[in-house]
């Protein structure tokens, strides 16, 4: 593990991190080793976020650095070298709501934490959640919403999963804007998370990894 790379990235030194990655590639370092280091860095970033040393802009910046590294490293990876995923998570912003900043951060954090995430996007109809839950067979369904109209969309989505006989196969987590435990009860979700790291922790608890 390249400690220097881990720390440069965890400290969000974008230019230095990218420069080091290029240098390592030139020296013939195994690209999977570089990816391992970026994952270790993301672990550190997540820990700092939990300790409230880092905030959303830091997660976003870390995501950008990760993207920059992937663009350099991915073409060099051997086919089939993709790492084994820990479990499937389906996520989307519920019907009528087009907000995506929070959902995108959750998707990103779940992805770098090793989960296989299918992001259905924004304003996702109830029927699409049901259909995709059936097809994709996730262990966890994440419903995101910023506006108060999302409460009812979430409730309807959960009810539709029940009617389709899928509710017992998945855990449902909700989050965003006005969401709190009161809303969780109303929606009959299994949990609500206040931020992206809470979402990752819920998945760890439910799926493991």
């Amino acid at each position: 593990m390249n400690d220097k790379l881990v720390h440069l990235m965890a400290d969000l030194k974008e230019k230095e991190t990218i420069a080091l990655v290029k240098e390592l590639i030139k020296e013939g370092t195994d690209p999977t080793e570089i990816l391992d280091a970026t994952r270790a860095a993301m672990d550190l970033v997540g820990k700092r976020f939990e300790k409230e040393e880092y905030f959303i802009p830091d997660l976003v910046m870390a995501g950008e650095i990760m993207k920059g590294i992937s663009e350099i490293v991915k073409p060099l990876l051997k086919k089939g070298a993709a790492s084994i995923k820990k479990g499937k998570v389906l996520i989307g912003t519920v019907a009528g709501d087009i907000h995506d900043i929070g959902k995108d951060i959750v998707t990103f954090m779940l992805d770098v934490s090793g989960y296989d995430v299918l992001d259905l996007g924004i304003d996702v109809p109830v029927s699409t959640f049901v259909e995709k839950t059936r097809e994709f067979q996730p262990r966890v369904v994440g419903l995101s919403g910023f506006l108060t109209l999302a409460f009812d969309s979430m409730k309807k989505t959960v009810e539709a999963l029940e009617e389709a006989g899928l509710r017992n196969h998945v855990k449902v987590m909700i989050g965003g804007g006005q969401i709190d435990d009161e809303v969780r009860r109303y929606v009959r979700a299994d949990a609500y998370g206040k931020d992206a790291v809470a979402a990752v922790n819920l998945c760890r608890q439910w799926i493991g990894g």
Binding site: E14, F55, P57, V60, G96, I98, I101, D152, V183
Partner: protein
Amino acid sequence: MKEDAAELYRQREKRVNDAIALKVPDRVPIEVLFGFFPAKYSGMTIEEVMYDPDRLFDAQLKVLLEFQPDMDQAPFAIRFLGPLLEALDFKQLKWPGHGMTTDHTYQFVEGEYMAADEYDHFLLDPSDFMVRKYWPRVCGNLKGLEKLAPLRGVITYYMGFNLSIAPFSLPEVAEALAAMQKAGAEAARIAAHSRRYTQKAREEGFPMQTGAFTQAPFDTLGDFFRGTKGLMLDMYRRPDKVIKACEKLLPIMFETAINATRMSGNPRVFIPIHKGLDGFMSKEQFKRFFWPTLQELMQGLIKEGCNPCPLWEGDCTSRLPIIKDIPAGKACYAFEATDMFKAKEILGETVCIRGNVPLSLLIAGTIEDVKACCKKLIDVCGRGGGFIMDSATGLDDAKPENVKAMFEFTREYGVY
């Protein structure tokens, strides 16, 4: 105006002004942002609200008279938007018939409407950037304005006119100007409805909450130009440009507010706060990027005799010690998810606080839950004045019986 209405108007204004001045009013004032609640209460769809100003007028008046808040808001400038948005072919909102179904509220479309490498243009001449770059991007019908030359070019003696004015002869520009005229007429209609409503509310004895609107410069930059993500990354990649842009925006945001207060004769200035909340940046970033220009904006407004009324959206609990630094008894801070009891403790001697019955409670809770929440707010935050009861955010989807409980309980229990 009926005499008793005039007296009620005076009492209500004094009640709120006393709270803002940190004096003890006769009772805890109550004000809300009704949002789309009046429409739902009158059985109107969101689409009808956005296109039918007469029914909107009646729906708003109905909730005003039934719930009797101490102050109201004319809803037209933020609700009756359909015809104006169509005249512009506005891209930054989705609304019923334009990307949303008839019964979903309009929503903002985030994006980088100003690219990272356009800061210098913006800093050189923000108006020029707005007219030739920004408007054509956010308004489909103003696309032709991108053909214009910088108007500042006329500075170069007579010949300057040739270069700067010639593009006005282009058909694309003429089309854009025609669209602007049409949009201008729609905007004037909105203003006329607002004046009519304000007058009617006055006759019924209700003042308006605010008479002007502005924003923290950082929010304007993030909301409308760079997008949340773009601006977050700019704090790392080009921090000096962010600060310069906020400083450039400061006098513009100040001027907008002052002009509006002079027109309305109402000194209270609404300032929704979007991007400075806990979690959206570190305390150091807040102190460096967000607070300085907002503080200066509010101080400037206070110097001109205005009352800045920011709505601190989200949770801003960690910001309380920082935002305390403002002249006492002049501003009113509304909070959405901030810990109100900490706010009272930290800001009690400095700023009137307003809030924050959660919408989760108003939608999914019982009448008893709502009353218990109001009781605690009045007991703790209401102590010694300096507090206005409000819901955490716009009432949109709240249950009417819960809203009624919030109003009635506050009026009864909130008497000093």
